[in-house]
Each structure stands twice: as structure tokens, then as C-alpha cells.
Symmetry: C4
Subunit: 289 residues, 4 copies
């Protein structure tokens, strides 16, 4: 509670329960806050598990009613949590339109929509996005530092990786058009987009084998394409390794992120020395030490 | 226009429109020049998209006429652009026989040829090369620096990578001949070139599955080949990463290339301090700062 | 024998044969100890070889009786070895419940159980674990140092690799659910778990080809998934390489592990300067130099 | 000829033609020596090409006689070369039993044997080894330095890579036995060696698709195996990159190998400062500068 020893900072949170729940939901340093995180994590994993099992024909046939009931229990739980998040934050709209707010909404919406709209099948995929909610909980654990290093290296090499992807797409277009002419529709290369799909599958060394070259010339070009792809495989690995090694050698302090949540918009993950929320600009509670 | 404040450098470009169009096509620092780049980029992407869609049987059946018309519009556009490039440069032949000049020509030629030569199908592939033209536009953006680092590392490791490719081909020949004898034509390894194709596909971990070993000995040799290939996969990655890390650590200034185009042959991408075009030897306009 | 020049350290090992056998089994510096290691290594390899050959229908048909006899010979040998290990160590229970003790037990148990329990087939897999026993022998050779460097780098990057695996699983869930909706059960994506299996197989560039996308949208998403997986492939390699390079550059002395075995629980692999067993706390024999 | 300005070093080579041919075959610094290398290189490539083409059913049917004649021409040429090598070297037996000597012999033997032994088909594979002879010529070019760096890094990491291979085999045995029990012979996993072949193919991300899991448990274990294999893929790359980067940073002078050939046994590739042949101990000609 030391964190909120300066109540004049948050005059709006006068009622005790809002204060308490804000702490439980947006902080992670007390026992009830940790219990909340744990329950949420278990509920997310269980609900995603139910979505998966429900898709298995045999299980759906035998347990459809149970799955339906469980699904509604989880939806109710997540709805309560979503409502709470909206209630305890001072500027709820900001939260509602943030990435996490949208994911939270997408986690409960499909179940309600399935009452009115037939064809719940395609809405199913949206519920699988619930797994993303795990990241919010995880990013506040000790993995935050590791994640910072990985992401920072990825961010620093973004242009090189984009360039690499553009190169891959260019090669895919040329190789795809070439193979379409050489092998032709009668041997599986039915059109250029399909040939490009084949080229990506081949270059990335996946090689499903649903489309394969049959002519000698086609096989030769495939071998060349593979060797090019093989050499190109070195590029993103090289970029990323070099950046990562650089980041680790410099020992940059990119990951000194904070566990404090903003009382206004609920945004988390501020810099350690930050005094104001980098999302809504409101003053942050003082760091704990 | 500061760039051309010394008109005595380019006495031949007396007429205003040639001067203006040279700047629009070969420079990228003014509003019209950037608009030109943007229009060209969109046209290239759209025309490659049409080539792709036209190859889809169903779409070709329904929209053949439209695709034909659009194709001619793009061809006309690119023809005008090609003509302009030839006109505004002082030594058009140099441009015509440069890499970019040939790619520009190949982008429009197939459509004209299809009027006289039947079998436009195989000419289609050539039109896909249009995608390469995007590189000319992109190389003048902020990606030029990244590209420089990547290419420099690739260039420095060219001999090691060639050696690696030669090693792969040698292993493919020996493994191919071996599997041809062990498995034989009746199990898919119909001749040594086909076996070599299989060896490359296997070693590079693509593994289509169109040709697979069936005998125990064949499978054992395949496992050994895979483990060799698996270890060899480390080689180009290692080479490239080491070179890239070296280049990045040294912070070499290999990418200080310029946006100035030569008024004689249109060649771009000169060193920052270059005073003469490295392609035709003509004096370059002074750098902007 | 210099190693045991202080007999008062091990008063319990008064009888000569226990002393001798303890040395033979848990040390590796004398001729008989090395012979013991060699015989054990050959026996392990041969017994695993028999398990393998026995699974081949044709060989089983012709040689079943021989395989049965040989299997019992090896089981008897390993039983004697297991008994000896229990006998010469001062605290046998500690050994019995250590990792190596359990593996040793699992190596002989299935054969005995097959006398009483029908369906020896599934017990067969347990006997293959014998191969793990080779590591105990190998870890005391010159490979210990290399292994130390490799493991240390792996250990230091454990959180980053866990994060990476979590990321892969998340992408597999989302891509799996997506493809289940797009392609549907009639095209092989029979349920979300099966789709996730496909997503992992695809992302990791294995690409069996037993399940493949057939719709254009499905193929497009597959291409995107592959390119993401392709870029992600760089992550563990980058992490591991950076850590390994760091470990090798710092030249940390993590691998100065010892060949001394604890006289109480038989635990091996202590730090070079360790004076007490890090498993049971008993004083270790003094280092040899 | 400066290189042999000290004739007293090689008293045996009194006759002019042996002297000259020794220089032509074992040195690479004069015009005739380079011509000899070039002719040999072309002959090797052409003869391997003929072996390949001869294996193609259709070509064999039409051109069998021509291929037969050409094969004999090349065999005659290589026989003359082999005889010359034996003649001009002072200790021919040493050459004959060296690696290169054996490869040279294997390049001509199969053709002679095919006269007496029927079933020339299996001897064909041996002739493909001719491609290895190219390495002797290439290793004396500018690629020698690159090759030295690559090989040195490989040699320094040999133990780590062996350990890695041993780890892969262990996982293959355990995963193979497991899948044999779970999937069983009726689903393609016909015995443990076949399952191990599958495990290697899967772990190395080749994934032919000739054997695939069908049960849910089997697919789950496959996913786990793939993710393990995926993480393990990082190990050899990491090892090799770290070693290579280390070698390149230290700039070790491991590749200052010489072009001088020993007059006694014909061995090449000595250290730059070497005074005696590291194979037969005879004094080497003085280095050129």
C-alpha cells in the first residue's frame, strides 16, 4: 500500500472498493493481486482448452452441452473482469480502445454474438485470441527483461528484415512465374499465385510435397531455388544474431520497465524513471524505491 | 534546384522540359520527383498483379478482355517512361545497355511481341521481371543504408559461400550416384540427375517427399546425409553472421551512397564524395551539402 | 590409489572388495576402472541394438529365441551392475532415487515385468532408455568440458528460449484456429488440435505434406505463417549463438568439473574446488593435484 | 624455374622430362602447369557429366555407344595422368597409398573392371568420386585461404559437433521407440530403425511425409519432437558461428599454406615456413620469396 501513500494524487478513487480493485487488477505486488493474476491465467488456459476440445467432432458429439455451459461460465467471468477494468480506471474509453482493451472485448463478444447470429463456427477463431491475454500477465513477471532484449534486437533490425522479406517475395514472384511456364497447370502449378505459394514453401525449406516439379528443367530450377533459399536462410539469422549480440554486449538498459499501472488509463510497462504515463500523460505513482 | 545552380556543367540540357523531366525521373528530392516515383511504384505493383490474376484460369475466363486492356495501358505507360528516360539522358545508348535499361525494355517488349508471335504464355514470365524495377525506386530511400550493410557482408563472404555451394554440389553428386545404385529407377531414383535433385532437396531440409528411400540401407544413408546437411546448414549462417557482426562492429561507412543521378548515362548510387560518374566518367553535379 | 590415501575418510569401506569395486565403478583413472567403463559401453550399445533388431518383423521371426536369450544375458549383467552400485555406496537409497539410479532400474525392470505382464511390446520403449546410460560414461571423458560450455549457454538462455516456445505455441493456436475455419474438416484440418499440429509442422519448416491447404486464402495464410516462422527461426539461433559467443569470449571456467565420485551417494561431477558432495553433503576425497 | 635453382636438392630428377613433368603436375605457377590444371578440370567435369547423362534411360538408349567411347577416352587420359604421377615422384608407393592416390586410382579402376566383371551399374557410383579430384586443383587457388578459415573453425568445434550428433542420435532412438509403440507397424512405423529414420527426418526439419503420425498422441509427441529439434537446430549453428567469429576476430594465420609440392611423395599444402614435407620428411624446395 506504500505505493498509494499519496492519496491526493488520485482524488477520484475515493470509494474504498475501486481503490482496492484497481490495485488488484493493475498491480502485481500484493497477495490478492497475485491471486487474481493466477485465477485469470488458469481461466484463460482452460477456456482456450475448451475451444480446442469443442472442435473435435467426437468430443463435441458427447459433451456439447457441457462445453456450452463451461463456455458461458468463462464468458461471464471475463465479462465481469472487463466491466471491472472499465469501472476502476478513471478514463475507461482510453482503455477500451487500447490494444489490450480490444483483445479483452474480442474474448467475450463472440459468445454473445452466437446467440443472435447463426454460424458460430467462424466466430470460434476469435475466441482463440484469448491466448494473447496471457501475454499481459506474463509481461509483468521476470520474463519482462528477456522479452525486452529480444524485442529490442528485433526492432533494431526491422528494416533489414523487411528488406529480406521483400527479397523473398521478389524471388517468389519470378520463380513462381518461371515454374508456371515450365511445368504448367497440368502438373500442379495451376496459376502464378499457386506457383508463388509453392516457391515460398520451397525456399523456406518447408516442402509440403503437394506440388512438385516433374520435368528435368523444373527440377534443376528447383535445386537452384533451394540453394538460393538455403543461402538466404542465413540472412535473418545473421541480422538477428548480430543485433542481439550487440545489444547483449552493450548491456543496454532497455528493459528497466516498471510494474506500475496508470490510474487513469490503466497503461502498464513504463520506464523505471518515468514520472508521467506515456499513454495519457497523467502523473504516475512514485516508484517503490 | 540548388543542385543544378551551375548550368555550365550541363550545357546540353538547354531546353526546359528535358531539364525538368531529367530531374523528375532521376532525382528524388522534390515533390514532382517523389510523385513520379510513387505513381511508378503503384503502376509496377498493379501490372504485376494483373499478370498474376490473368494466370488464374477462372479469372482469365471471365475478365480476359479487361486484363488485355489494362495490360496495354500499363505497357503504354511504361513505354512512355522508357522513351522519356532515353530522351532526357545525354548518352541514351549507355542507359539502354545498362542493367536497368535492359530490365525496363524487357518490361514492355513481351506485350508488343505477343502481337506478332503466337504463344504469349511463355512471354508472360518476362513481364514478371517488372517487379525488379521496384528495387530501383526502393534503393533510393532510407533502405539504401541497410541494403548496403547486408550486401557488403554478402560480398565479403562471397568466396566462402561459393566454396560452400561447391561442397553441397559435390555431396549431391556422390549421394545421388549412391542412392541411384541402392534404390534404383524402380523406386523413383530414375537417374543420377534426378537423384541429385533428391539429394539437394533432402540436404537443404526441404524434403518434398516425391522421391523417398524405401530400402533400409537407403534410409540409413539418407539419415547420414541429413545429419551432414544439418551440420552444413550451420556454415553459411556462420559465415554470414560473422561477417555481418564484423561489419556492424567496425561501423564501416560503406553505405554513404548518393542520390545524385549522372546527367549523361542516368547512373545512380555514387559514393558520397564521388566527383565523376563511375560508369561513364562524366563530372557529377556537386553534392547538396 | 593416491586418491584414497586417507582411509579414515571412509571408515565404512573396510572390506577390500567393496573398496576395490567402488573405485572400479565410480572412478575412471585406473586400468580396471577403464575396462569396466568400456565393457559397460559395449553392453549398452549391443543391448540397444538387440532391442532395435528385435522390432524388425523379419528378424524377429527368424531369431526370436536368440534375441530372447541375449536380452536375458544383458539384463542379468545390468542387474549385477545395479546390485554392485547399491552395495558399494554407503547410502544406497540416495543412489536409487537419483536420476541415474532410476534410469539404471528402468533398464532392467521391463525384462522382469515381461515375465508376469503380457504385452511386452509397450515395455520395449523403456528399454531404449538404456542409451541414456551412455551419457554417464561419456560425461567423465574429455567431452565434459565441451558439454559444460554448451549446457551453460543453454542454461543462461533458458528464459529467452521458453519465451520463444511460448510465442510459437501462441502462433500455433491462432493459426490453427484460423486454418480450421478456412479449410475445414473436409480438407484435412479436422479439428483445432490437428490444425495446431499442422501449424507447428509448417512453422518449423518440417512440412510433412499429410495436411495441406487447398483454398487460395488458406495458401496465402500458409505463406505468411511460413515467412513468420522463417523469421522466428532466427530467434533461438540468435539467442544461443550470442550466449555461446559470450561464454567463449569470457572464457568462463564453468567446466572445471571433477572426476571424483562421492563415497556416500555415488554422485559425480563436482566442482574442481568442491570439498563436500553437493548432493548429500559428505566430505569428498581430496582432488588429485 | 627459380624454385628449382638448387638442383642438388633433387639429384634423382636428372632426366629433363621427369623434371619438367613434375613441375607441370605438382606446381601451379607456370603457364604449362596452369594449362595442365585447366585441361584436367575440364576432363573431370566432362567425365562426371557423361556418367550422369549415361544414367538417363532415354539418353542411354540413343547414345550408349558414344558414351562408351567417351568414357574410354577419359579413362585413357586419367590412366596416363596416374602413370605420370607415379613416374615423376621419387617415392611412388607413398603417393599411391595417399588419399589423393587412392581417389585417382578409383577414378579409372571401375572402367577396367567392367570389362571382366558384369554388373557395371554398381561400379558407376565409384566413378562419381572423380568429382573429388577437383578439390586438389581448387585447393591450390585463392580459395585455399577461405577453406582454411572454414576448416579451422570446423576442426576447433569438432567435439561440440560430435556431442551434438550423439545427442541427436539418442533423441532419435528414444523418439523412434516411443513412436513405434504408439503408432505401430500398421501406420508406417514398421520397426524401430524405420521409426528412427522418421525421427531424424522430422527433427532435422526435412519431413518427407512418407511416414506420418495419425493418432492424436503421436501428433502431440511429434510436435514436441519438432520443437526440440527446432531448438537444437540452434546448437551447431551457434557453435560454428562462435568459432568462426573467434577465428576471424583473432585473425589467426592458419591459412598461410604453401603451393610447393614435395619432390618425393608429391604432397602439397605445407605451412608457409615449413622446411620439410610433413608427410615423408624430405626437405622442401625453398619458398619463392
Amino acid at each position: 500500500m506504500r505505493l498509494f501513500s499519496t492519496p491526493q494524487l488520485n482524488p477520484a478513487r475515493s470509494s474504498g472498493w475501486r481503490h482496492r480493485w484497481f490495485h488488484i487488477i493493475y498491480h502485481h505486488d500484493t497477495r490478492p493481486a497475485r491471486d487474481f493474476d493466477l485465477i485469470l491465467m488458469v481461466a484463460i488456459l482452460a477456456s482456450v482448452g475448451v475451444v480446442m476440445l469443442d472442435s473435435v467432432q467426437r468430443l463435441h458429439h458427447d459433451w456439447a452441452t457441457w462445453f456450452y455451459v463451461i463456455e458461458w461460465v468463462f464468458t461471464a467471468l471475463f465479462t465481469v473482469e472487463y466491466a471491472l477494468r472499465l469501472l476502476v480506471v478513471r478514463r475507461p474509453l482510453r482503455y477500451a480502445f487500447s490494444i489490450w482493451g480490444i483483445i479483452d472485448l474480442l474474448s467475450i463478444l463472440p459468445t454473445y454474438l452466437s446467440l443472435f447470429v447463426p454460424g458460430a463456427q467462424s466466430l470460434l477463431v476469435v475466441r482463440a485470441l484469448r491466448i494473447l491475454r496471457l501475454f499481459r500477465i506474463l509481461k509483468l513477471t521476470r520474463y519482462i527483461e528477456e522479452s525486452g532484449v529480444l524485442m529490442h534486437a528485433l526492432w533494431r533490425s526491422r528494416r533489414k528484415i523487411l528488406l529480406f522479406l521483400f527479397m523473398v517475395v521478389t524471388i517468389a514472384i519470378i520463380a513462381g512465374a518461371l515454374m508456371y511456364v515450365i511445368e504448367g497447370p497440368e502438373r500442379g502449378f495451376s496459376n502464378i499465385p499457386a506457383s508463388m505459394y509453392w516457391a515460398v514453401v520451397t525456399m523456406a525449406t518447408v516442402g509440403f510435397g503437394d506440388i512438385v516439379p516433374h520435368t528435368t528443367l523444373g527440377r534443376f530450377i528447383t535445386s537452384v531455388l533451394i540453394l538460393i533459399g538455403y543461402s538466404i536462410l542465413a540472412v535473418p539469422t545473421g541480422i538477428y544474431t548480430a543485433e542481439l549480440a550487440g545489444t547483449m554486449l552493450r548491456g543496454e538498459d532497455i528493459s528497466r520497465l516498471d510494474h506500475r499501472g496508470c490510474v487513469i488509463c490503466g497503461h502498464e510497462g513504463h520506464e523505471h524513471k518515468a514520472r508521467y504515463c506515456n499513454r495519457c500523460g497523467h502523473e504516475l505513482p512514485r516508484p517503490q524505491d
